[in-house]
Symmetry: C2
Subunit: 362 residues, 2 copies
Amino acid sequence: MVQNKSLVLAKHPVGYPVPGSDLITTSSEFDLNQAPPPGGLIVKTNYLSFDPYQRGRMRAATGLYTTGYPLNSPITNNAILTVLSSDNPRFKAGDVITTNAEFSEYQIITKERAELEQSPGGGNAGVRLLKNPLGLDPKLFLGALGMSGLTAYSSLYEIGKPKKGEVIFISAASGAVGQVVGQLAKREGLKVIGSVGSDEKLQYIKEELGFDAGFNYKKEKPDEALNRILGELGEEGLNIYYDNVGGEQLDAALGALSTFGRIVSCGSVSQTSKKPGETHGIQNMPLVVGKRLTIRGFIVFDPDMGGKYYEEHQNNLQKWIKDGEIKIKMAVTDGIDNAAEGLVGMLKGENFGKAVLKIADL
Amino acid sequence: MVQNKSLVLAKHPVGYPVPGSDLITTSSEFDLNQAPPPGGLIVKTNYLSFDPYQRGRMRAATGLYTTGYPLNSPITNNAILTVLSSDNPRFKAGDVITTNAEFSEYQIITKERAELEQSPGGGNAGVRLLKNPLGLDPKLFLGALGMSGLTAYSSLYEIGKPKKGEVIFISAASGAVGQVVGQLAKREGLKVIGSVGSDEKLQYIKEELGFDAGFNYKKEKPDEALNRILGELGEEGLNIYYDNVGGEQLDAALGALSTFGRIVSCGSVSQTSKKPGETHGIQNMPLVVGKRLTIRGFIVFDPDMGGKYYEEHQNNLQKWIKDGEIKIKMAVTDGIDNAAEGLVGMLKGENFGKAVLKIADL
Ligand SMILES: NC(=O)c1ccc[n+]([C@@H]2O[C@H](COP(=O)([O-])OP(=O)(O)OC[C@H]3O[C@@H](n4cnc5c(N)ncnc54)[C@H](OP(=O)(O)O)[C@@H]3O)[C@@H](O)[C@H]2O)c1
Ligand SMILES: NC(=O)c1ccc[n+]([C@@H]2O[C@H](COP(=O)([O-])OP(=O)(O)OC[C@H]3O[C@@H](n4cnc5c(N)ncnc54)[C@H](OP(=O)(O)O)[C@@H]3O)[C@@H](O)[C@H]2O)c1
């Protein structure tokens, strides 16, 4: 018997979730030597992903594309795990797998799930063997080589339609999705502008990732910053806005886009944890007509998104990361006891890079 | 010599333009017997169109797709005119033509313009012979068979992509564009919901045009009205929102759209005449991601819009109007002395149907 700790949703948060109150750590006994259920697996958790959409799942009623997390159960997300014992022919002890898993140190995977192949775009409860032919850091498969990277890759091409010489603006530019979008856009020959929430991140995207320009939205108003930067770059306007945050930056981007500009609506993390009445009303929507803008929302597991780009994303990104052409920064929280702080920290922008929880290194 | 009256922009309006102050009627002498300029025409104005985009052209700086009206000159818009005398082989006295013309009773068309074919989607200064093989009311060629109808036709198909059984919501539903969109959508087998600014208009779209439901946005809040109506129709949400007005109705539509819904961004007439600080900030933009919405703005003379659908629009609409399958309501203002009131009235919603100015019947 071992103690098996989990991160549990105890209450529906109002505003930012509060560790110790909305999100608590519980512990229960787990028998490591128990037989796996018929057709199932016993697994040990190595890494779990922290993602902004998890905030949405902490609401009482969610609807849309995800269901709400049940109260008093461990929350779940994409994970990398090691098989301890298996009653399923697809897997054997020692295999490293990815699936949507509980925030628990140990867990059981049922036959039903062990038999289901994880869909390429994610979004089902299936399981996949981690394929890491180039021997890359396995944590990457929760970020640049996982859901965040596939999000960046598929939506930039499918919706953004980048063309050499165009100008793209990316919010949350040092984050899991943003850092990949920015580097892909540089590869395609675009001028890349990023916004971030600290000077350290700003320096990083400009000096390490090669962005052409950027600003710290906590120090400079987004509309003024975009005006300033476009002037400095000698450009009239943006062609693409990759929107990770919504709110004031979306408004500023609408103002700064050129005719026939595209907005890739990826997320609105600046609004998700706002209390009712505190959200930002977008003033610039009337510009959509005269500028002929297209704004398109997506979820990575939509049919024409992640699945369509899965192979291409894996093949290219693994190679480019291996070659050092694309750099990936990760923000690792250590241990389940710190999981709540890590998750909430990411929502507040305290992460610098793709946020993951490490439970046990591989 | 005759007196030739014109509607002139005297000042840039703040809020709604004020007749007699921002928009004034002037008069000057015009020689009906003068020779046309070399290669040009002398024409008499029959009908002029009132369109919401003209409000945008009254600003000091406009940019985007139209230029501002110069101060102290007659404003311009699509018109139907009769050729009085011609020095151009394309036209002869008595021909009925359409072009972008001055709000003046008589005017001169230069050689340069007389030689230019009016582009199918509008948007250039060229001239076209009115082709009216079915002998329809010529005023229709400023509305359902002109720019408004082509706007409705092209954007509904190109952006709305209507499918039988879907639900569409149209704002300014009794207006020039709205009444055509609604009837086309009915023909395609959609359930059609319209919003209007009076009970008389509401009764019209439901009883005369066969809309499935509607509401008067001055009496019922748009979000509550859409909820009520969707419940009554037994539908979960909207598939298309045809946005003529922006503001509060756009916000309500974002809330009521189903996954993969489309917004055809045609205009935002509810915001155009608002003073700074009075405009409506859109709260529901974060729903674009989870619902995977597409919002697309257009201008009828964009390459893939009006021009692409011009022939189809003329062929079908002329026939359907002749057969009585599609009904068109027009709001006619009589005489240049009433032009300012007519134009401002349309911006305020006092028009019931496509607003035009009649100067002299054909
Ligand atoms: N549509 C999809 O399928 C899909 C898939 C994955 C992710 N997403 C979305 O993509 C976005 C980025 O996700 P990610 O995983 O890459 O997260 P991330 O960027 O690694 O982390 C979240 C970041 O959001 C920024 N942020 C937090 N509060 C903010 C505020 N008030 N204003 C501006 N920025 C704020 C912070 O960066 P700064 O310090 O720079 O502010 C923080 O680091 C999220 O909106 C997420 O929901 C969508
Ligand atoms: N993108 C393009 O190429 C293109 C081309 C043509 C037209 N448009 C746009 O399409 C829209 C409709 O134009 P239209 O020519 O068909 O005009 P219209 O509907 O015939 O006339 C304007 C109508 O707007 C409504 N309105 C005025 N103020 C409003 C407010 N505060 N809230 C809600 N509705 C209000 C009024 O109808 P109610 O009494 O029902 O409120 C009024 O009758 C406009 O936004 C116009 O700019 C765009």
